[in-house]
């Protein structure tokens, strides 16, 4: 539930639809959240839960058609990004909001030097001269711990390793000192040691620069290590939101609980089989009128099929979209009854 007026990014009722042959796919359904200055918001969920689409929708980065952002408000810097003209949006991209993408191998243009690609947003948004941009680009490469930064500006992406390329991507995203950094599974394509290095780098950069970060991932381990607050997404909706400690200690949504149970333990006896959540994530061809997790949920009862649960507060900064109450191990009687927790 969006709270606090001092959020850098305030999203309300966001709804994104993909037009496909023979109908529509409702990828994002009434998503609302806040991003506070300097915090790291983790967004988890399995593939197809709408994590990336939500973040792409904010800045109009989805190809349209087929994508269409149908409803909602995205407040950033005192204006609604969904009402901005394409030109105004371009001013926000790169300058106010930086992006890091999943696959560093393909996210950089292979035929331009790394220096050119870092200098581009600097020259476009900050109007820097070539020399000034070059100097700043070198500083940025040093900031992301690339040795020999001055030399490497003239190198092409294929001369960098995967981890190094992701560092370059981070340098590009941070070039204009954005208030918000959106990282879309930035470590998914990297092996574990490089992943650890990138996480360490992000922690360090957060301390130095103090921007707010949205970190999309499906790796709960990464979230536990880095996030302040977590949003769990399922079927294009936010099903649970909580501070990171609270989420791992007291998960309230059956999906979150199931997700946490799938994480294999490295201590004790090795389980003969990995835990999985049975079933497939839903393909939403219309606005959900029932709980999308219902077919895979052990707690599902008749009300779940009748209406889609709204998010209700269950603790400080903790809310969940579910009719089941794990404290009393029974159905919640009236919506919003436990909001005074």
């Amino acid at each position: 539930m969006p709270d606090g007026a001092n959020a850098v990014l305030h999203v309300e009722g966001l709804k994104t639809v993909f037009k496909v042959r023979g109908g529509e796919v409702h990828a994002v359904n009434s998503v609302s959240f806040d991003l506070k200055p300097g915090e790291l918001l983790g967004v988890v969920g399995e593939s197809g839960s709408g994590k990336s689409v939500t973040m792409m929708s904010l800045l109009g980065l989805l190809p349209s058609p087929p994508a269409e952002v149908r409803e909602g408000r995205v407040m950033f810097d005192g204006r609604d990004l969904l009402k901005c003209s394409p030109n105004e949006l371009r001013e926000v991209r790169g300058l106010g909001v930086g992006f890091i993408f999943q696959d560093p191998m393909t996210s950089l243009n292979p035929v331009f030097t790394v220096g050119f690609q870092i200098m581009e947003p600097l020259r476009r948004h900050l109007g820097m001269s070539k020399q000034a941009a070059r100097k700043r680009a070198q500083e940025l490469l040093e900031l992301v711990n690339i040795p020999d930064a001055g030399q490497r500006l003239g190198d092409y992406p294929h001369q960098f390793s995967g981890g190094m390329r992701q560092r370059v991507m981070i340098a590009i995203a941070l070039a204009c000192d954005p208030k918000v950094l959106i990282a879309d599974e930035p470590t998914t394509a990297l092996d574990v040691t490089i992943q650890a290095q990138i996480l360490e780098l992000i922690r360090e950069l957060r301390q130095k620069l103090g921007m707010a970060i949205v970190w999309i991932t499906h790796d709960l381990g990464v979230i536990a290590g880095i996030a302040d607050r977590v949003i769990v997404m399922y079927g294009g909706q936010i099903v649970e939101q909580a501070p990171v400690g609270e989420l791992f200690a007291h998960p309230r949504h059956p999906y979150t609980r199931a997700l946490l149970q799938t994480v294999p333990s490295v201590r004790g006896e090795r389980a003969p089989k990995l835990n999985v959540i049975e079933g497939q994530p839903p393909m939403l061809t219309q606005t959900p009128s029932a709980c999308p997790f219902r077919p895979r949920c052990a707690q599902a009862f008749d009300r779940c099929a009748r209406e889609n649960p709204a998010r209700r507060a269950v603790g400080r900064g903790h809310d969940v979209a579910c009719f089941w109450d794990f404290d009393s191990n029974g159905a919640v009687t009236a919506t919003g009854s436990s909001a005074d927790a």
Partner: protein, 335 residues
């Protein structure tokens, strides 16, 4: 890059020698007699003398080696003599056409300008309209512009030039009488009026050929752009806040041009090869037309030399295409 170019250049020499031998043997094996047009009333012993005068009495390998010497030694010397007014060639035997008894190179030198102005111009025009069409068609895929572009390039691709050429003649030369149907090779451009006449007589062959070239290259350009428009780096470029113009014309275009430039470079030798059929239709006395008449009359030195020059051009432009590839794509290094 330099060592690569040098190595490729050195490899090209044996390649070309083998090609020249292959052409020579093919012509040797082909049926037909250069003296076939000589009347039957000429007695056989006279005919034998004529044959000997053409050098046809010696064995094929002698004639092949002789041709090699003439092509690679005598002709360059003649060129040097022609340019600097020296006399290195000293009247050595050149490659002589059976048909006109004139040095083959002189005839080729007369024909090249016709071919280059007409075919070269149509290639230039074809490429310069194909690139923007390809780019825009890909950017607005399935728009009406793209649909029309697809239709026109289908037509340009599949309608043979002897058909489209004749249609143009009927429409523009016979009905509308805008352009002459026959190309006047002897026409000299001296002033504005004669320049306009040259433009008018070039218009139809150039139209036919540039439609064909544009059809081909615009399809290459379009599909290459489409390959790149969905790449992740395009999303990165947009996420940086770059304008669509920069995203498409700098980031995507630079990547898309790599294969297209190769195709364009490989197409250049076909300019010199001339458009055999189109030249025939519009009576342009170019190289293609020369090749056809020489084949008809079994003018072996002419056919041999022309074909071999085409082979040299093809090998050269293959090399140029490879080098361009290395320049345009930083991932390719030849060392």
């Amino acid at each position: 890059m330099f060592t690569f170019a040098l190595r490729r250049f050195l490899i090209a020499i044996p390649t070309l020698l083998i090609i020249s031998l292959a052409i020579f043997l093919l012509l040797e094996a082909a049926p037909g007699d250069p003296l076939g047009d000589v009347p039957l009333t000429v007695p056989p012993d006279v005919k034998e003398k004529m044959r000997a005068a053409l050098g046809l009495d010696s064995a094929w390998y002698v004639r092949y080696l002789l041709w090699l010497k003439q092509f690679f030694w005598v002709e360059p010397l003649n060129l040097v003599d022609y340019i600097f007014g020296t006399d290195y060639a000293q009247g050595m035997q050149r490659v002589i056409s059976f048909q006109s008894r004139q040095p083959v190179m002189q005839i080729i030198a007369q024909r090249v300008p016709q071919t280059l102005t007409v075919v070269g111009m149509s290639y230039l025009i074809g490429v310069s309209i194909a690139l923007p069409i390809g780019i825009y068609s890909a950017y607005r895929q399935y728009s009406w512009f793209d649909q029309i572009g697809t239709l026109v390039s289908m037509i340009g691709f599949s309608v043979p030039t002897f058909f489209s050429g004749v249609v143009l003649i009927i429409v523009f030369a016979v009905k509308l009488q805008w352009f002459p149907s026959i190309y006047d090779t002897t026409h000299q451009v001296t002033d504005w009026a004669s320049f306009m006449k040259q433009v008018r007589q070039m218009a139809m062959p150039v139209m036919v050929l540039s439609l064909y070239n544009a059809a081909q290259i615009s399809r290459f350009m379009r599909s290459s752009m489409l390959d790149n428009l969905n790449q992740d780096y395009v999303r990165t470029a947009r996420a940086k806040g770059l304008t669509e113009k920069v995203v498409v014309l700098v980031h995507v275009l630079r990547n898309s041009l790599i294969p297209v430039v190769t195709v364009i470079a490989l197409g250049v030798p076909t300019i010199f090869g001339g458009a055999i059929i189109t030249e025939q239709v519009f009576k342009v006395n170019g190289l293609g037309q020369q090749l056809i008449t020489s084949i008809h009359s079994n003018d072996m030195p002419m056919v041999m030399t022309l074909t071999f020059i085409f082979a040299i051009l093809i090998v050269t432009f293959n090399l140029i295409a490879d080098l361009l590839y290395g320049i345009l794509d930083p991932r390719i290094r030849y060392d």
